[in-house]
Assembly symmetry: C2
DNA sequence: AACACAAGATTGGATATCAATCAATGCATT
DNA sequence: AATGCATTGATTGATATCCAATCTTGTGTT
């Protein structure tokens, strides 16, 4: 459909929701232009798209940075997401046919099998996807796009927080929501959706200072080389599971990695490198 | 915050929601660059913003056009708007304090006075604003932005349709929604919001072919000259009221105005000039 | 140590240029 | 006359280069 700037925006979006580009990371025009081998103008257009999507923030004469939402904004994003999904739930409880309910059940079942098989990465993806499938069944493309944007922003948020979830409960929620809706117990289903998201947010502990573990060039490398399937090589979903051993991710790329993060002038030594240790990189769903 | 491209995007947005730039109208880069006295690149960035907002559509190697949503998309936009406002209503019924209710009542009262005074233009604006104020009281900026975008798109839709509303009922709806919500009758309030929007949509008769009455240069002229307050000179809200006399708008700018609209190859004589006569240019609220 | 000033770097934007693509025109053919 | 085809023109997508404004940094002075 569109040209280079859209595909670059897509790549950047992907890198951000994969947590390869973390909030605060500077997205320099010249640097990205070299990485993607395009002119600065195309990069600028891509950055405008990211900013419109809420994933980047452009400061006049200072450049673009990966968005670093405040705790307030995080709450608002989750509130909006809850509102949208509750509304969709209300629509589906009226209008959804048997095929739709079957698709939802099938999806939940696939996730359950992934969990049983210990395939946490797949379970994460399916857990995310459930919400997308849910909204898609509303057959409202406008709503889908709004929801997808909110989901992208919640995914960005997870770069900023140290989470502490009970995954089993969250997984069961999906199943229970489908059950309640199909039985026409809309009110309970909506309450459960609310609780579902509140559970996620309550587990959030924002540590606003995030240190990138790689330069943009390193972060974007997996998405660039030709026809390589990004899904296999690029997604670094390293789930820490229950063993809070020291994250290897922080070290195997080397402490020598440049810190391309925009920080206020607070003394950088006070926030020790140890604070970057994530207790959880999984995706709540 | 941002530079020229944002302000140009704002101006174009304004012109579109004022119905000075109608769906299908070509937004040529070179033409706009001359009008705004900037380079094509800045115009392109502005057009990207418009496209992200759903107000323009960019076709590769063909250029940008004011968006021309299908009937399907129109329904989806209104569904999404209903969903959002119902959700906000649910939140407000729980959380809104006395000051909030007072603000809503005050706003309704202002609109009522405007109607009583026969100031239809002001009543239109206030009617639009009610929905914005309503959502603002949720104190959720993310939701506000989503809602504002949907409202812009509904406003765009009104360039495409021949409407047939009962304005008195629509005005009363606002008042009744506030009453119902404050009394805690959430369900009824949500139904009324649904009915409110359905009433608007049901009045829609889309005539997909819209003919611009002026060139982009003419359409944008009022927004350009320096410090002139656009609100006074630029908004051409010519309400046809109950007298369906032939719209003067179609003639006083001259039939010689260039037709800068993108049309399929259907013979242009079949859709006679008379079909552009609008029976209503007012804003349902 | 605090402040002021100068140098460097980055962004925002203009201009000129080029290739690719689409639309329209005109011509030839049936 | 109508249809089909090729050329021409116009517009977009994109690049390179250049310049002004602004921000950051580093140095020097008090």
């Amino acid at each position: 459909m569109s040209g280079r700037s859209q595909s670059i925006a897509d790549t950047l979006t992907r890198a951000i929701i994969d947590h390869r580009l973390v909030p605060g990371c500077k997205l320099g025009e010249r640097e990205l232009a070299e990485i993607f081998d395009v002119s600065r103008i195309v990069v600028r257009q891509a950055l405008i798209r990211l900013a419109d999507d809420g994933l980047a923030q452009i400061e006049r004469n200072r450049g673009a940075f990966v968005a670093k939402p405040s705790m307030q904004e995080a709450m608002e994003i989750y509130d909006a997401l809850t509102l949208v999904e509750q509304g969709v739930a209300a629509q589906l409880s009226d209008r959804l046919g048997p095929a739709g309910w079957a698709e939802l059940r099938h999806h939940v079942e696939r996730q359950r099998q992934a969990v049983a098989a210990g395939n946490d990465a797949l379970a994460d993806v399916l857990g995310q996807e459930f919400h997308t499938v849910f909204v898609r069944l509303s057959r409202n493309k406008v709503m889908q796009e709004i929801h997808a944007q909110l989901v992208r922003r919640t995914t960005l948020l997870r770069s900023l927080i140290t989470a502490d979830f009970d995954y089993c409960n969250l997984l069961d929620d999906h199943s229970r929501v489908v059950d309640l809706l199909e039985k026409g117990r809309l009110k309970q289903a909506m309450d459960l959706i609310d609780t579902h998201h509140r559970t996620v947010v309550r587990g959030y502990i924002m540590n606003r200072e995030v240190f990138p573990e790689m330069t943009p060039a390193e972060a974007l490398a997996p998405y660039l080389d030709g026809t390589a399937d990004a899904a296999t090589t690029a997604v670094p979903l390293r789930r820490m599971a229950k063993s809070p051993g020291n994250g290897d991710a922080a070290t195997h790329l080397g402490a020598a990695a440049h810190l391309h993060v925009h920080l206020p002038k607070t003394d950088p030594a006070s926030t020790s490198r140890a604070s970057t240790k994530k207790t959880n990189r999984g995706l709540p769903s």
